[in-house]
C-alpha cells in the first residue's frame, strides 16, 4: 500500500473518495456496535424479568443452560469427527493425489461448503437419519454400556449423533481448506531434508508437514467449531427435541441448541418470550465470538513465529 501519492495536496477528488471510503469503514464499525447494542437492549427485559414470566417458568439461566449444553455438545461432536477427516483429506489433496487432479478434487470438497444448510437439514432427516438407524441399533447393542450409546436407539434417526455428523460434513470443507493451504506451504527444503534421510512418504509427512501445520490445523478446527456452534437449520430440522440434558447420543430425547431453539420458537413468540430468545442469541454470539478470537490469536501467533 502506498502513501498518499499526491504529496500531501488534497485534491477534491481525493477528498471525496477517501471520505467515502472512511465513511464505509465507519458504517461497518457502527453496524457492529449496533448489533451488540440492539441485541442487549432487546434482551434486557428478559434479564430483568421474574422467572415466572419467562417461558417454561424457569429463570433465564436455567432456560439457557441446557440449550448451551446442547449447542456445545453438538458442535464438539462435529469437530471431533470432522478435524481428523479434514486433515486426512487435506494430506490426500496436497501430497498424495496426482497433480493434475488437485484442482478438481479441491473443487469437489469446496462444493460441500456451497450447499445451503436447509438442504443439509432435509438430507439429514430424510436420508441420513433413516440410513443411520441400523447403526444406532448396533451401537446400543454392542456399546450400550458407554453413556454415549445408552439408547434406546431412535427409530427415526433424529438423534444428536446424526445431527453432529451432519454438522461435521458442513464444517469439513472449512477445516480442510485451512489445512490444505498450510500443508502445501510446507517448505520444500524441510520435506526434502526428511526424504534425504531415507524417510518414507508417511514418515516425511509425520516429521515435517504435520508439525509445520499444527497451529493452522488448530485454528482451522476452532473456525469450524465457531461455525458449528452457530449452525441453525440443520439442527432445527434433524433433532428431535425434548429438552433434557444428556450425553446420550442415539436416543429420541435430546437437548436443543440455542440456535435451533430460536428458530423453532421465534415465529410464534411474543412479548417477553421474544426477549428471552434474543438473550439466548446474545449468549450464543458471545460463545462464538470467544471461539473465533482464540482462532485468530492462534493464527497471528503462528505468523509471528
Amino acid at each position: 500500500m502506498l502513501a498518499s501519492a499526491s504529496g500531501g495536496i488534497r485534491r477534491p477528488g481525493d477528498r471525496i473518495f477517501s471520505g467515502t471510503a472512511v465513511a464505509a469503514a465507519l458504517t461497518i464499525l457502527a453496524l457492529l456496535a449496533g448489533v451488540a447494542v440492539f441485541l442487549v437492549v432487546e434482551a434486557m427485559p428478559a434479564v430483568t424479568a421474574d422467572a415466572a414470566q419467562l417461558p417454561e417458568g424457569k429463570s433465564l439461566v436455567d432456560y439457557i443452560a441446557p440449550l448451551a449444553f446442547g449447542t456445545v455438545l453438538a458442535a464438539t461432536l462435529a469437530v471431533v469427527v470432522a478435524v481428523p477427516l479434514a486433515v486426512a483429506v487435506a494430506l490426500f489433496i496436497s501430497h498424495i493425489a496426482p497433480r493434475r487432479l488437485v484442482l478438481a478434487l479441491g473443487f469437489l470438497v469446496d462444493l460441500l461448503a456451497a450447499v445451503p444448510s436447509i438442504v443439509y437439514g432435509l438430507w439429514g432427516i430424510f436420508v441420513l437419519g433413516p440410513a443411520a438407524v441400523p447403526v444406532l441399533e448396533w451401537l446400543e447393542a454392542k456399546l450400550g454400556f458407554i453413556p454415549f450409546f445408552e439408547g434406546p436407539a431412535s427409530a427415526t434417526g433424529r438423534t444428536m449423533l446424526v445431527a453432529g455428523l451432519v454438522l461435521a460434513v458442513m464444517i469439513l470443507p472449512i477445516v480442510c481448506a485451512v489445512a490444505r493451504e498450510v500443508f502445501s506451504q510446507t517448505p520444500r527444503k524441510l520435506q526434502e531434508g526428511a526424504l534425504a534421510l531415507g524417510a518414507t512418504r508417511w514418515e516425511m509427512m509425520r516429521m515435517t508437514v504435520l508439525p509445520f501445520g499444527r497451529s493452522s490445523i488448530i485454528s482451522g478446527a476452532m473456525l469450524g467449531l465457531g461455525r458449528a456452534l452457530g449452525e441453525t437449520m440443520a439442527v432445527t430440522i434433524i433433532l428431535s427435541v425434548s429438552g433434557i440434558v444428556t450425553f446420550n447420543l442415539i436416543s429420541q430425547a435430546n437437548p436443543s441448541t440455542i440456535a435451533a431453539n430460536i428458530a423453532l420458537d421465534f415465529p410464534e413468540s411474543s412479548g417477553v418470550a421474544v426477549n428471552t430468545l434474543i438473550a439466548s442469541g446474545l449468549v450464543l454470539f458471545a460463545i462464538t465470538l470467544v471461539t473465533n478470537l482464540i482462532a485468530r490469536a492462534i493464527i497471528s501467533r503462528q505468523n509471528i513465529e
Binding site: 464505509a24 461497518i28 432487546e42 483429506v89 490426500f92 478434487l105 518414507t200 449452525e231 434474543i278 465470538l289
Partner: protein, 352 residues
C-alpha cells in the same frame, strides 16, 4: 585410516523385497470380491456394508502382505496411504449422496407449475413462484447494500493508511465473519422493532440481516483481490501525475474487476441459501410480494423449510415441494459458483 570396506547386503535386499506394482489395486479388488462373497453368504446385500468391508479387508491385507515382504516401515506407509484415500472417499460420500438425493427427490416436483404459481389460496398445492421472486428481491436488496459498502471498505483497507481505524476495522471484520446467521437475523429484528414496534415483518429486514452476513465476505474477498494488483501499476499511474482517487478508479479497480465480480457472486451464493435469519425477519407468507418495504415476503429457503415443517393435507406433495425448492436452491448456488469461476478465468487481467 578407516577401512573403506563395510560389508552390507545388496541394495535390492536392504529393506526387504518389493511388492509388485499392481499390489494396491489387486488388494482392493480382491477385498471387494471377498466382501461381496461374504455378504452374499450372509444374505445381506448392502452397498454401504460392502464399502466398509472392502476398506477394512484391504487395509488389513495390504499391511500384512507388505509387512511380510517389504518390512514394517514400508507397510505402515502403505497402510496410511490406504487410510487417507479411504478418508477422501468417506468425505465424498455425503456430497454424492446429497446431490443424488436432492435431484432424485426434487425433480418430480420441479415443474412449470412449481415455478410459476404461488401458494396463495391453494390448499395442498401451488408452487414456489412467490418464493423465487422473494429470493431475488431480498438478495438483490442485500447485495445493493453490501457491495458498495464492502468494496469501499476494502478499498479503504488496501489503498489508504489509517493506523487505528484500519486496525479496528480489520479486527471487527474478523468478528463479523463469525456472527451466527440467526444472530444476524435477531439483530435486524431488534433494529426494526425498536423503530417500528415488535411483531414487524418486512422483506427489507431480511435484506438487512443478510447484509450483516454478506458485508464481511465481500470485504475479505475484495481485499484479497485488491492486494494482488501489483504496486508497479499504481506507481506507474502516479508517475504520470494522476491523483490517487483517479488511480484507484481508472487503474486499480479495472485490473481487479474480474476478481471483485467473482467475490460478489460467491458472496451472493453463500447467503442466498440462508434460512435462519429470514425466519425471524421476513416471516412466512403465501403470496407474491415485490415490495420489500411492505409486508412479509417469502424466500426459497424459508419456503423449503415451511413446506417441510407445516405440510399441507397431502404431506408427500408438500415434501416434494420442499425438495423441489432445495433443488432450485442448489442449482442456483452451483450455477453462481460456476459462472463466478468462469468469469474470473475469462476476464482476469494478467497484470504481471
Amino acid at each position: 585410516m578407516e577401512s573403506s570396506a563395510r560389508i552390507r547386503p545388496p541394495l535390492a535386499e536392504l529393506g526387504g523385497g518389493a511388492l509388485p506394482d499392481w499390489a494396491s489395486y489387486g488388494v482392493i479388488a480382491g477385498s471387494a470380491l471377498l466382501g461381496a462373497a461374504l455378504l452374499a453368504a450372509a444374505g445381506t446385500l448392502s452397498v454401504a456394508l460392502l464399502l466398509v468391508l472392502t476398506t477394512v479387508l484391504s487395509c488389513s491385507a495390504i499391511y500384512i502382505w507388505s509387512r511380510l515382504v517389504e518390512g514394517s516401515r514400508r507397510a505402515l506407509d502403505r497402510l496410511v496411504t490406504f487410510l487417507i484415500v479411504a478418508a477422501f472417499g468417506l468425505a465424498l460420500i455425503p456430497l454424492l449422496s446429497l446431490l443424488f438425493e436432492v435431484v432424485k427427490r426434487g425433480l418430480p416436483g420441479f415443474d412449470w407449475e412449481f415455478l410459476t404459481t404461488s401458494s396463495r389460496g391453494v390448499i395442498g398445492g401451488g408452487g414456489a413462484a412467490h418464493a423465487i421472486v422473494g429470493t431475488v428481491v431480498i438478495t438483490g436488496v442485500a447485495a445493493a447494500i453490501s457491495v458498495p459498502i464492502g468494496i469501499m471498505a476494502a478499498i479503504y483497507l488496501t489503498e489508504f493508511e489509517g493506523g487505528r481505524l484500519r486496525r479496528a476495522l480489520t479486527f471487527f471484520v474478523d468478528v463479523m465473519t463469525g456472527i451466527p446467521s440467526i444472530v444476524a437475523g435477531l439483530f435486524a429484528y431488534a433494529l426494526f422493532a425498536i423503530f417500528f414496534g415488535p411483531g414487524i415483518r418486512l422483506g427489507v429486514m431480511g435484506s438487512a440481516a443478510l447484509s450483516v452476513l454478506m458485508i464481511p465476505i465481500v470485504i475479505r474477498s475484495s481485499e484479497e483481490v485488491l492486494k494482488i494488483v501489483p504496486n508497479q501499476l499504481r506507481e506507474a499511474s502516479y508517475a504520470l501525475g494522476t491523483p490517487k482517487w483517479k488511480t484507484i478508479v481508472r487503474v486499480v479497480l479495472p485490473t481487479a474487476f474480474a476478481g471483485l465480480v467473482t467475490g460478489v457472486m460467491i458472496a451472493v451464493a453463500r447467503i442466498i441459501g440462508e434460512t435462519a435469519p429470514l425466519l425471524v425477519t421476513t416471516g412466512v407468507v403465501d403470496s407474491i410480494n415485490t415490495n420489500p418495504f411492505e409486508g412479509r415476503m417469502q424466500n426459497l429457503a424459508v419456503y423449503a423449510y415451511s413446506e417441510y415443517r407445516t405440510p399441507g393435507v397431502m404431506k408427500q406433495a408438500s415434501y416434494d415441494r420442499a425438495w423441489a425448492a432445495a433443488l432450485t436452491l442448489i442449482a442456483i448456488v452451483m450455477l453462481l459458483n460456476l459462472v463466478a469461476r468462469l468469469v474470473y478465468h475469462r476476464y482476469k487481467t494478467e497484470a504481471h
